[in-house]
């Protein structure tokens, strides 16, 4: 097989919303690199031989090719660079591109920087910008925003799988409360409160069955991660590097209604799948990653995950797409709190999108960094306590997700 891909370090800025404490995008990127250098003194900007930039929308950034500002600011003139954009899966796709570059043998040390500044417009304007990633000719003005499309999918999924509003509320509570142990998480920095299932149930209706606290946060934030060869990892961070042992990237229709009766899915998985309810691209990308990493039983072989909980309902749907439960077992799987910190496969110990935040281009990178911290034993240093540390974690999954499930990537990371 092609050569091993490793991660030796990374960091995010605090995730926030509004006018407080913002450095600038290039200032934030520089601070992420500085923090990485504090963790990994052997890592130098001179070692990078490619930069990949992960950024979703110039509508939010009010600047075309903003990666050129960051790249120049970091003093990396002369180094090859390009930007990856793939909706909510921009971060995962940038990581995929970086891993391919190392795997090919053409690059040895690749920096990935992701960011979004969603607070440059109002919340409702921001929702409309994101909705422009739906098919605007058919979907933009009807209902209008992504949570509504997700709610329509989740409503049927929950009925088909006997999952209740309270069940998914537990997921929202879990992730937002996990974020209360993470000083960089937006929920910790802004709302700063512990939630109960009742709080979620009583929060305002967004789109049935999704309520305010079932939703992730609009954010501003920057993230940086170093993807490299094992030779380089052994040189600069021999005791704290992790390997990307598996990865998968898959796709589905832009309009959720178009995945009914889709002939290609039918060929893959038989009739009736993914319906309008399951994330077929997530299942497909997971199968690729599991095969590559030799994962036979994900529930046994994987210790934890950092996954794309844009909505509490999506996290539940993702459990199923990752093969952790099926139609008969999913409700019990959630009720038994298998994915909480005391469960056998904690999900989103870092807070996830619900707690840490969702600055689109930075999100998948943030998830990767949190998974890296768990596997490298850095949680006691990075979080406020060890309550959100997965003890003796050997293997984690990172999931990044776009559109209505339109592009999804999964990565299997292992402690070296």
């Amino acid at each position: 097989m092609s050569r091993k891909v490793c991660i030796i370090g990374g960091a995010t800025t605090p995730f926030d919303y509004g006018p407080t404490g913002f450095e600038s995008i290039e200032g934030g990127a520089a601070e992420c690199v500085r923090e990485t250098q504090q963790d990994v003194p052997g890592f130098s900007l001179r070692d990078l031989d490619l930069m990949i930039y992960s950024h979703f929308s110039v509508h939010f950034g009010h600047q075309l090719a903003p990666e050129w500002i960051i790249h120049d600011h970091l003093g990396l003139v002369g180094l090859p660079h390009y930007r990856v954009e793939n909706g909510g899966n921009t971060g995962g796709s940038a990581l995929y591109a970086a891993a391919l570059a190392v795997m090919s043998g053409h690059h040895d040390c690749v920096g990935v920087i992701g960011w979004e500044t969603m607070d440059s417009v109002s919340q409702s304007q921001g929702s409309e910008f994101i909705a422009m990633a739906s098919d605007i000719r058919y979907e933009l003005m009807v209902g209008g925003i992504y949570p509504i499309y997700y709610a329509a999918m989740a409503n049927k999924w929950m009925k088909d799988n006997h999952v209740t509003e309270e069940d998914v509320a537990r997921i929202a509570v879990k992730n937002k409360n996990n974020a209360m142990d993470n000083p960089k998480a937006q929920w910790y920095r802004n709302d700063h409160t512990y939630l109960t299932v009742d709080d979620v149930m009583n929060s305002r209706l967004i789109s049935y069955p999704i309520k305010k606290y079932d939703c992730c946060l609009m954010s501003r934030g920057v993230a940086f991660v170093v993807v490299c060869s094992e030779e380089y990892a052994k040189k600069v961070n021999p005791d704290h590097y992790v390997t990307i042992d598996g990865m998968g990237l898959s796709s589905c229709t832009i309009r959720a209604g178009d995945r009914l009766n889709n002939p290609t899915w039918k060929e893959h998985y038989g009739p009736g799948y993914p319906e309008m309810t399951e994330f077929g691209a997530c299942r497909n990308a997971a199968e690729q990653a599991y095969t590559m990493a030799g994962i036979k039983d994900p529930l046994k072989d994987i210790d934890f995950g950092e996954i794309h909980d844009a909505f509490s309902t999506s996290e539940a749907q993702i459990y199923k797409a990752l093969g952790l439960a099926d139609t008969d077992t999913i409700a019990k799987f959630i009720r038994d709190e298998r994915t909480s910190m005391h469960g056998d496969i904690p999900m989103n110990p870092g807070g996830g999108l619900l707690g840490y935040g969702h600055p689109v281009g930075a999100t998948g990178i943030m998830s990767t960094i949190e998974a890296y911290y768990q596997l490298a034993g850095l949680i006691p240093k990075k979080h406020l306590s060890t309550t959100t540390e997965v003890p003796d974690a050997e293997c984690g999954i990172v999931n990044s997700h776009a559109g209505t499930g339109t592009s999804i990537s999964n990565f299997i990371l292992r402690r070296h």
Binding site: P19, F22, H62, S122, S124, Q125, S127, E128, A131, D135, I136, R137, Y138, E139, L140, M141, V142, G143, G144, I145, P147, I148, Y149, A151, A152, M153, N155, K156, K159, E165, R204, L205, I206, S207, Y208, P209, I210, K211, R255, A256, G257, D258, R259, L260, N261, N262, P263, T264, M276, T277
Partner: protein, 222 residues
Amino acid sequence: MTVTLTMNKKNKKFADAPVFTDKKDYRPTGVTEVGLTFVGHEISEDRTAMNQFLHYDQLYTIRHGWNSKFFIGLLEGKIMGTRCPKCGDTWVPVRTHCWNLNCNLEHTDWVEMPLTATVHTWTVAGWSGRSSLKRLPIILVYALVGDSKVAIANELHNLAPWDVEFGMPLQIVFKPQEERVGAITDFHFEPADGWTPSPMTPEKERIKQLVEPVYDWVKTLK
């Protein structure tokens, strides 16, 4: 010599341009595209942070091209679909080439669809984008029109939000002709004639409880 060559190129015609004669302008009064303009700023008390306000509005031309028949159909009160002559799959929203890989992007035929549909899934929205807030609460359904293989999203009117049901039969209702703009919002769904909602259930009560504050909130919007 060079000049002559350039002129020859200019005279060459590759395709006939459409002649646009049926023109409508329904932009709200006072909306103009001024381009990029700095319109203000704010500076913190300690003068360490500055925010600048950039106004940025653009007029887009959505060139519907080969999909135009669907949108012209809306103006005429019709739902146009497409159908693959090879495999028979039918779509609303339309596809101008077949999605079946075995059909090798076969060009599809236009078909007029019946104005009936079935609910595949639904939600009741209590929040939306800036342009939709005053219409809340909104019942959004994904519905299958006629024998379409795919579902299309649109609003369901003329029904209490808690009464929407999976599989319920729908009719497609167009706005009055003079209000149509050739966009998806020219039509909405309504329950089919003769259909009546089932009695109240705990779930319906729950939706009612969630939706009632939305009615009050919308009244406070200017």
